[in-house]
Symmetry: D2
Subunit: 286 residues, 4 copies
């Protein structure tokens, strides 16, 4: 039998006794702490914690754990918290356009069992990737978006996301801007990959801008989508060195490899429940 | 008044209840936890922790803290532990030969107040750096070492180290091998910088070997000195890319910058009490 | 019509007048130089060059270019040289075992047109990847190798490689050691990915060794296969930082992403004819 | 006797025959090419070249070389060019404020002979670094700048720069903005280090902005100063990973090490005559 654990993510105003209160609660339910990471942002006076404990000898039912925690600990510290169980498999949907590299990379990781998730749904504004989705046995919906039909297509997308019981969405180089309404349905639930080291070069054609500016480094940024374009909480960034020898095409080529890896790492953290967000910044317990 | 804190480093066999025991002990002495990092090495079944707490409202005298912790917590868990106080300034000695880059870099950091330490003593087998030591007002002892006088010179070095009340030693490209006796006097107290990404290219002339092997990456490694040459616990490593264009001299030049930074980071961790060692591996709470 | 160019790779003993001789030869055939990279290894007294020129107004037939170059330039300088044309599509074979990550990554790049190559042949000692090969329409041969049948299976492999007219072979985490005979058939024609920053941790289970040694950096190395195990000319290396938090499994996970990228870059250089080898070291004109 | 070489930097509109013309010119003067790097920016249709040749058997006087080159080669290709000789030691001036890290690092490299330059002059708007300048035997001028006296102090600075025969100026964290007039006196002759990965976070307090934005990477950028703030041609950039654990102070600390190295590399390229600038972008022949 696989080891089953609970994962608790917490943040609250910083004050004395929080660690003790949480660890006492876990101990009182016969949980053995496997990982405990805490972080205090002194500038903002805020406390963050990720704690994972073994449920093997738990003296309390999973479904009562949250309620008990709220009552005995969270309420007293004004905590925001999430509780997850290691045996849950998050359900991820992919939104794609025509660029295949992140899409292929995600499907390869999924197929080879790198991630403990389900990927039941792919939505695209193009048909290009349909055949690839098919051979992985994933439902693919072609919903072309234009100026006129954005609202109804988004309604259809939301319907599908609900129907497929989706936990979080990955924009694998999906070249469309989502509406505020859509975004607000999935707070910290939409992950985008942007092809620059944000906040440099937001918006379109960042490699062209990077070339023009003559930078010696290009990058990629995965972030949660918020209603402000390319300004959501950053999950992961990485960079590669370039030189005067690199054309825009070379940058695009080198950037593809960055984008794949940076997006995959963000998905990993999402799946592992490593991420807390506060004030548009992420705390990532790695 | 500056905030004063206690730093406790602990490792012991992993079992339930350790975090709770430690945090309860701190709470019972009116300490507020500032940082708590823990790590479990499941393969080896060992628990590691660094916890730092505010002493502002401490209900117990500094000098009794260790004894109380031993009695009420450590004994029961078979803990190895160290207790430090943030207002202590560790005393560092430098051993140097003729290569100046790490030496200059360390003195610049010291002089500009980057590190909360004292550097009262420099020992060298050459006279080259004497003038630099003088202008920083640091005592400099020229103890040339050769095959015949190693033993007596080491005795003299040890005498000086004791006389100057040295906490830890940094070999800033000191090109001599220390005796087993000497090394055993300073467990986890001698930091060396080796000019390769160990375990590749141990021993002398690693840049020449790197060139011959045609590697595309060179590196530097800071580690604790143990009696096995270049095989002690690694504290920090970093690398730089090289190409066929780089001659041995280019590698040496690029390597110097690596060595400076990698050694400085190790010293930083040593000063901040971030490092635990077990089974020849370091746990670094950053 | 696509621009067609000639790519000439040259090395020879260094002496005066080489660049002039080569550029004069190209000019005399109405070629316009697009790229010219040269490198002199002064330690070894050897000259290396990669030059690419536009054939649009070439006054000489492709098939005579090499002969003319040999006669008018190469002979006089004792040159070793290769001549390629940009419209040739090299033919690559894949040897795989059970680990899918490099294999998937290569096929995704191939399918999406990232590389100007043909991949007509996959050989494996296992059946695991057969289905994936099928869906990409690539012939897959299952040739299980053991102590007893190595020789005859290698004979069969060589037969297939010849039959499919293969230019170079990629070992995409192929876990078998090739015989000296096999290797000698493909000088600078077999690319391997090793899962460490060689020369550290050659041989099997490098991530386990890296964990035991407590390194702070892991790496991957792509290199040409020679008869000495993991000691061939290095094409590309990259690294990732790890910490005490990383288990062997974490290292394997992080290493996979390194391996994919480092192998892909080596293949890119191979396809682009960027690589010269001399004295077990590569010169890579990037 | 040390080997003496000529270094020629050239750029011009791209067309056929440039490499041949330059190499023929060198050969006709009995020069042996040591390094030849060329680059074509096809987007802009511009050709760049750095060529270095041995003067040991030169059949022409140094002082006539430029004139001859202009007449026989440059004029015909509409070339912009510079000619340098390896035995010239460029004269560098330092402008500093109060932050010591880049300043110390530069002086250490200078004192230990890492760079073939002269540093005869330091100018500062503060007195903090005077003692350090003194012990290195470098003239130090304290010219405090404020709103009212900027113009006259700049006049004094320019006078000193001329008097000391300065070739290029390094702003080693000099916190003042220079006037357009001042900048125009030293085109590609003023190197600044900015403490972010430009174009992200131009202007003041970039580490504070980086913290607020929650980036996972910080950087440093060395660039030529132009009249547009922080927008000059980028020479070198590097980055370091940060996490939620890093406070603004941690970023400043980690950034210092980046700034030192990135500035030192830019100075290295400047000294080695590796840099060409065109359209606000650098071509760096490394």
């Amino acid at each position: 039998m696989e080891k089953r654990s609970a994962i608790l993510l917490v943040h609250c105003p910083d004050r004395e006794g929080i660690v003790l209160a949480v660890t006492s609660f876990i101990a009182s339910n016969s949980g053995n702490i496997l990982y405990l990471d805490q972080h205090v942002d002194y500038e903002k006076g805020r406390f963050f914690m990720r704690v994972e404990w073994d449920l093997a000898r738990s003296s309390i039912a999973d479904e009562q754990l949250g309620e008990q925690f709220q009552q005995h600990v969270a309420a007293g510290f004004d905590m925001l918290w999430q509780l997850h169980f290691s045996n849950e498999r998050p359900r991820m949907a992919l939104l794609v356009s025509k660029l295949p590299h992140c899409f292929y990379d995600i499907l390869a990781r999924y197929e080879s069992g790198e991630w403990q998730i389900e990927v039941p749904l792919i939505i695209s504004n193009h048909q290009d990737m349909e055949r690839v989705a098919e051979r992985h046995g994933i439902d693919y919906f072609h919903l072309p978006v234009n100026q006129d039909n954005r609202q109804e297509q988004e309604a259809r997308q939301l319907e599908l996301l609900q129907q497929y019981n989706i936990d979080f969405i990955v924009l694998a180089r999906y070249m469309q801007i989502l509406s505020e309404d859509f975004i607000n349905q999935y707070p910290q639930g939409i992950i985008n990959i942007h092809h620059s080291f944000l906040p440099a070069f937001p918006g379109g054609r960042p490699y062209h801008s990077a070339y023009e500016r003559g930078v010696k480094i290009i990058g990629a940024t995965s972030h949660y989508v918020t209603t402000e374009l390319d300004a959501g909480p950053i999950i992961e960034q990485d960079v590669a060195h370039v030189s005067h020898k690199d054309t825009v095409e070379d940058m695009i080529r080198k950037g593809r490899d960055l984008e794949k890896v940076v997006l995959a790492r963000a998905i990993w953290h999402q799946i592992r429940r490593n991420i807390l967000v506060c004030d548009n910044r992420t705390v990532i317990f790695d």
